[in-house]
Symmetry: C2
Subunit: 368 residues, 2 copies
Amino acid sequence: MIQTVHDLGPAEAPQGRVTITQLSAALGLSKSTVSRALNGYPDISESTRLRVRRGAETMGYRPLSHAQAIRTGRVRALGLVVQIDDHDSQRPFLADFLAGISVAASAEGWTLTVATADSEARTVRTMAQLVEDRKADGFILPRTLSDDARVALLRAHDVPFVMFGRTAKPEGCAWFDILGEDAMRDAVVHLSRLGHHRIAFVNGGGRYNYSRLRLAGYRAGLAAAGLIEDPVLIRSEALRTEDGARETRALLALDAPPTAVVFAVDHAALGLYRVCADLGLRVGRDLSVISYDGVPDGAYADPPLSSFKVDTRAAGQRLAEMLIARIRGTSPEELRETAPAVFADRGSAGPPRLDSGALAQRLARETT
Amino acid sequence: MIQTVHDLGPAEAPQGRVTITQLSAALGLSKSTVSRALNGYPDISESTRLRVRRGAETMGYRPLSHAQAIRTGRVRALGLVVQIDDHDSQRPFLADFLAGISVAASAEGWTLTVATADSEARTVRTMAQLVEDRKADGFILPRTLSDDARVALLRAHDVPFVMFGRTAKPEGCAWFDILGEDAMRDAVVHLSRLGHHRIAFVNGGGRYNYSRLRLAGYRAGLAAAGLIEDPVLIRSEALRTEDGARETRALLALDAPPTAVVFAVDHAALGLYRVCADLGLRVGRDLSVISYDGVPDGAYADPPLSSFKVDTRAAGQRLAEMLIARIRGTSPEELRETAPAVFADRGSAGPPRLDSGALAQRLARETT
DNA sequence: CCAATTGCCGAAACCGGTTTCGGAACCGAG
DNA sequence: CTCGGTTCCGAAACCGGTTTCGGCAATTGG
């Protein structure tokens, strides 16, 4: 007897779940046949395979992932360990990132296991724990570091993973990344076309792999614009607003200050706004800025921050899809993708009202 | 033969996990005895129970949760469905919230399954799915609504849950909540002591249960301060910065504008800053403001926003502990806790430099 | 036409646990 | 000394799947 499924769609028939035993009985087949039919074994005829699939469909059979896991060792769950000690831009994107992962995962009937850790060591330990307890079949690694302990662990234990971000040592690594270097290059070129000649660069954290790339992009932009690199215009380690303010002050204290600044991180770029407010400079006229990330706060600044937006949600989605493919056996070399950041020109970059010399004079007046 | 665990602590011995069969063999007991010993069955002598526990400890035995789940139906996982259609203050707290849940869960050997949904209907559907697939044994419900469809579903299916926030119909509900009403009351009293007589209130979204409570707290504050309520000073539906700006403008357009505003939501309160910047008003002097949430952005405002801070991480931690207790059988009535918000006085509330009349005149000058 | 494959499926073992059931050993009481 | 009741443990069934193995029927090759 097949229990009819009433109430909400595929919700719950009273004493609900249909098991493989029930399904096989209803079909007049053995459960081994049903199992192999559903899992694509070659020794099942096409006709019965179809019959089984249809029967499973109509009876609403869905195998319990933990019941299969006991034999297969796989639970159909993606793992994500969020490291929360770094006060960088991860937070505002977290919800979108999760959303992207979640839709891709649930589209395939997978789920997402999340844990947090407050240090790199603990992150690795947590991941090891999750793997050992079979709580996740693979991991999405956000914020790839240049030398990443997580990669070492997962490689050693042969656990599938995909990185959000590229790495210097790509062996066995799958990744999805945004082309931050192209964004930085385009930012410099854009500012150059607006008439800027002294364009500074404020990078993010050096331990992150992206900072290496973005610096290269900045340099490529200078080259494309025919500008020569001035080391004093390159700063780094600016992740938070305070950091960005600090670096901005340092840049404006130069004998020949920049008239435009390219930031690798939006939150740091917002520090420039504060310094400008203090010094009576108008962003986008006295000092131009272009940044990267596309955080919502940037849109609320005055003038709104021109920034290269990253579609974090889409990234999460793609990463989840790629990780599932990876777990199912696709080789890491086939799973490497990049996407461009999209420039949102909002008014924080304009033609220089003052050149570097005039700006320096104005700043000198201000500070005395 | 017991395999020795080398490398990193409880990591992985090659061909690792010790099973209950191995453990029972090593102890010279049957696996049923071992199982019952570890699960606290009464028909196991205290001495063997101890022996088993010690053996499990030294051999590093940890039962696979999905192997137990196949019989018990429980996977030792907490569920959290994050709804991302509402653009309210949920985001900045998400990481902290997850961190709190994560530590409490992993302390008990539980994990966290996260999903997202972009509408209430989909949230409910997602939760039903997770329950049916046994991906979570219970749920943490963030952002309790006055009339919450999630509660209805879970109650109907007899699935354990705890709410972050109270509810009007408490039957069968467990919760943890911050006393936002006390915060609002204290805010009004504080402003009154500073010399304010016209104190406005800008509430959050009416569908959330907390808004009812915070309004009541505002009123209690007026009563405690000996002020009479003026309906024109009460606004609502302000969650985002734009909303807060809109409501601030409406308040300042009154014939007798408030000299201080209490906000139920920090991000909305930041809208007041923007309006003041536009109008040339100095926050904390020409117009005072106290808010609620304690978002990081508030500390970066000028002057920093005085706000009642919510320890979201602690809340997540406690909620996870309570949910585990709930799943283990504690009655919901025993699982109801509240905690106060902590006032961070940062300078956005001061003695009024102008009274309501003078402020109105100044605003009139400004707008002409 | 017979032997050897091949295609297709069922029976049964298995995965790592939990839970039911029955029985041996021990106990105090009659 | 026997008997009924505890105390405590092992054997075996079970949970819902997967996978191995073997066998029957149909097909192919010689």
